[in-house]
Each structure stands twice: as C-alpha cells, then as structure tokens.
C-alpha cells in the first residue's frame, strides 16, 4: 500500500439543531493513499459534504481525529484545492483573475503565477477566455475555471464537493473525462497524481472516476462499504457500457438501498 495521505480515526460529528442535537457522522475510519482517487457516495444528508469540510479543517469533528500528511488537522489546512457544487467565481473578475485568487488570498505573488494560471486554462481548454467575465462562460466552463483555481498552487490534495452536480447529464459525463485527463490519468505515474476526495450522489460518476468508492449510510453517516474499483485506466467512454461497470453500479445501488446481496455479486 502506498503511504497514506488522509487518515480518519473513529470520526464523529454531532451538531446542535433547533430540535436538539443531531448526529451527522458516526464512527468514520478511513485512510486514503497518496495519489488515490476516492469517491464518497451516499444519500442526501448523510454528512458526506460535512466530512469533506472536516478533512479541510473548516469544521471541527466532535469526536475522533483527522490527519493529513501525518499532521493532525485542527484548523483549515492550506495545501488543498477545493471545488464546490457552484463555481463561485467572483463575477467582477476575469477568468484569469479568478484563477489567480488563491495566490492573492494566500499572500503569494500573483504576477509570478500568471504563467501557470494561463497553462492551467489552456489545459482546461479555456485559453481564449482568460480575459472574459464569468457570466460570459457556460456552467461547465465556469466549473472548469474553478478547477483551474483549485489547482493553481499545485496542492497535493483536491477536495471536490459534488462539483458536477449542477450540470446537465451530457456536460457532466464530459467533465468526468476532462477531470481524469487533468488529473493526469494518462501521463502521470500514480505517485505523481493528486489525491482526490470526491463527493457525489451519482453512483456511475463515482465508479467511472474512482480507484475506490466509499458508500455511506443515511444519517448518521457511517461507512457502509468500501469498494475497490478495479477497472482499467485510462477510463474511456466505452467503459460505461461494459459489464464490469454495470455490475459495480448495481452493487453500490444495492448497498445504498439496503437490498444488499453484495456477497452474491462479489
């Protein structure tokens, strides 16, 4: 096993709601290796987005510990890239200025990173749009720009919270392929790739993208299953039609709906 980048140990999260304490997450123990692409799938409200924010140090866990790269997470950690469901680009800034925002926020020299930002835009096929305002771009293009923003400071860890959830189905499938390409599925060795923690409620998206799919149960979110996705990389469009792909989808579907006959399929 490669060295672990993320380690969650017996993580629990309880928050106070108007109606009393709500247990959002319970007994989550999980490790993610460096360079691994891991998806979290689960029903709405199972705490998968909360889990992502706990890993980022943006929310505190109630019990248990989180460590990233061997260090305990107690406050927001700096060397991560985050992509959210909405692109949340600043509408008064050009695409290039938006991509450079992390440099400015982190107090780094944005001018020195201009070249890198343009490279990223080129890679995301947005080179002609560097000087456009966000509203001049489609939803999918805006989301690609927000991915470039997340990659600007070259973080070893990418946290993605339903990044394609707001896109239409066709754009969504395109974006999945695009993400794998940018991730370096074809041209980077596994150790050189970024570690990705990807939250989604689309089973097929999780299977298509990931090395592992972690299935979560409804509230309080627990790990119901942790499946290795042994599909060959690079993943292709044709893969979606394969039997192995379909079987994995069905298996996860059964775990999620409680009609578990995973043993039979395994």
């Amino acid at each position: 096993m490669a060295n672990e980048l993320i380690e969650l140990d017996k993580l629990g999260m309880i928050y106070e709601a108007a109606s009393g304490p709500v247990e959002a997450l319970a007994d989550i123990s999980l490790s993610v290796g460096a360079g691994e692409f891991v998806s979290l799938v689960g029903p709405s409200g199972c705490g998968k987005s909360t889990l992502l924010r706990i890993v980022a140090g943006l929310r505190p866990a109630t019990t248990g510990t989180v460590s990233v790269a061997g260090r305990r997470v107690t406050k927001p950690i700096n060397d991560i890239g985050m992509v959210f469901q909405a692109p949340i680009l600043l509408k008064w800034r050009t695409i290039l200025e938006n991509v450079l925002l992390p440099a400015e926020l982190a107090g780094k020299d944005a001018r020195a990173l201009r070249g890198r930002a343009l490279e990223l835009l080129e890679m995301a096929e947005l080179h002609g749009f560097a000087d456009k305002l966000p509203r001049e771009l489609s939803g999918g293009m805006q989301q690609r720009a927000s991915l470039c923003r997340a990659l600007l400071l070259d973080p070893p860890l990418l946290l993605m919270d339903e990044p394609f959830g707001a896109l239409d189905a066709m754009t969504r499938d395109d974006m999945a392929l695009e993400l794998l390409r940018i991730w370096g599925e074809r041209d980077l060795a596994r150790e050189a790739r970024k570690t990705v923690l990807f939250v989604t409620h689309s089973i097929s998206e999780a299977v298509f993208l990931s090395d592992r799919v972690v299935v979560m149960s409804p509230r309080p979110g627990r790990i119901a299953a942790d499946l290795k996705i042994d599909l060959p990389r690079p993943r292709t469009v044709e893969l979606r039609a394969s039997e192995a792909f379909g079987r994995l989808n069905l298996e996860i579907f059964r775990i999620l709906t409680g009609r578990s006959s995973a043993g039979m399929l395994g």
Binding site: A56, P76, I77, I80, M82, F84, L90, W92, L105, A106
Partner: protein, 255 residues
C-alpha cells in the same frame, strides 16, 4: 442613428401624451378662463423659466450645491456605517436600533431645529438632504457586504486570508452594486431634503423661490422653479445611473 431610432420608437407614446397634456392645459387656461395665479398657462411658465425677474442661475447653483453636498455626505456616512455594521457584531448591536430610530423620525420635523442650531445657510440644508438619504445606503452596504457565499468564505479560510483581505477583495466589490443601487434612492432623497431645508430657512435656492412666490402670487415662477428642481434632480439621478453602469458593469439588473 439606429439607437436614436430605437429610442424614439420606444418613447413616442410618452411624447405624444406629454404634448397632448400640454396642449389641453394651454387650451383650458386660454379658453376656460382660469386665473393666471391659480394655474399659469404653459407659455407663461416657459417665459418665467428663461426670462422674468428671477436670477435663476444663482438659485439653481445654491440648490445644486446643497443636493450634491447632501448626496456625498449621505454616501460617505452611509457606506462607513454599513461597513461598521458588517465588520463587527458589537457595532451592529450598538448602531442598528439607533439608526432605525433616526430613520423613523419625520425628518421634516427636525428642520426647524437645524435653523436654531445652525442658522441660515447651505450647510443645514445639505444636512437635511443627507439625513433623509443616508439610511438606504447603510442598509444596502451592510447587506451587500454580508451576501457572500459561505463556500467563498471557506475558500478564504483555506488560504488563511486575513479578514481585511477578504473584505477588500471579496466583500467590498460584492457590495458595490448594492451600494450603487441605494445611491439612486439617495439622489432623489437629497433633492427632497434640500428643498425642505430651503422651505424652512433660506435666502436663496429654488425652494426659497417657491416660498417667495406665495406672497407675490407669481405662480408661473413657482412652476418654473419646480421644473428647474426636477431638471437638477434628473441630472443627478442620470449621473448616478451612468456611473453605476461604468463602475459595476458585471452587475445584472442593477436598475
């Protein structure tokens, strides 16, 4: 040229209606035997607008100065208070009830006090305009500064951005369209304030002209003064709209 054609196509019903009203008004006065001091004919108003004994330039200048002064006072104080409210919950708790109280006061009722405190002059009238116009700026500034997506603020925390940097780079530009839209209301309120101030205490200005015509029954001059007031008001409003478009072109539905 095409733009002009488009505009004229859009506004010709307004122009026709306006011409019709003017013509009926003139006809009612000329043939209906309405006394000149009750309702002056459009033509005598037109004459009063350009000729007559009133030194319009001086009055227009005074009122314009008051309105513009009131506008900038309201804008600066309003933005400062809005920033204070959005910056610190403590300041918000202290200021908001007080500001709501000030806003519910009928400002016109304070005008005589201004006369006692500050006497005659341009400044008390500016202050009156600012008092009427500052509140929407406070509210819109505070709202615009706080209406930032939670995810965007999380992004700031991930990069350990200091509070002032988030304020300068994210919150303030985000609030700009809100502020500019409040300033349109302020532009109109400043006119009301300046005129109310002049009604109560003044020796010059378009509001003063209107009050003075009461005793001389020179109604056509009062009408002319009204037209000048709306011209000044419209000019300021138009200026704010243009500046808003140039300054925050990204904001949609700003009008």
């Amino acid at each position: 040229m095409t733009k002009f054609a488009g505009l004229s196509r859009q506004y010709w019903p307004t122009l026709v209606l306006f011409a019709f009203l003017l013509a009926s008004w003139q006809a009612a006065v000329s043939f209906g035997g309405i006394r000149e001091y009750l309702l002056p004919a459009p033509l005598s108003v037109w004459n009063a607008l350009w000729h007559g004994d009133t030194s319009w330039g001086q009055h227009i200048w005074t009122t314009t100065l008051e309105i513009v002064g009131a506008f900038f006072m309201a804008a600066i104080v309003g933005v400062a208070l809005g920033v204070a409210i959005a910056w610190s919950p403590l300041l918000a708790n202290a200021l908001v009830p007080f500001l709501v109280f000030v806003n519910t006061l009928p400002k016109v009722a304070i005008a005589p006090l201004f006369l006692i405190w500050m006497g005659y002059g341009i400044f008390p009238n500016m202050l009156m305009g600012a008092l009427i116009g500052f509140f929407p700026v406070v509210i819109n500034t505070a709202v615009g500064l706080s209406q930032v997506e939670a995810d965007m603020l999380d992004l700031g925390r991930v990069f350990s951005a200091p509070k002032w940097k988030i304020f300068l780079k994210i919150r303030l530009p985000n609030a700009l369209p809100y502020i500019l839209s409040a300033l349109k209301i302020t532009a109109t309120a400043a006119v009301v304030g300046a005129i109310v101030g002049e009604f109560v205490a003044s020796q010059r200005g378009l509001g003063y002209v209107i009050v003075a015509t009461q005793s001389s029954m020179n109604t056509s001059v009062a009408f002319a003064a009204l037209i000048w007031i709306s011209a000044v008001g419209l000019a300021l409003y138009g200026l704010v709209v243009v500046v808003a478009r140039l300054w925050a072109p990204w904001a949609e539905g700003i009008d």
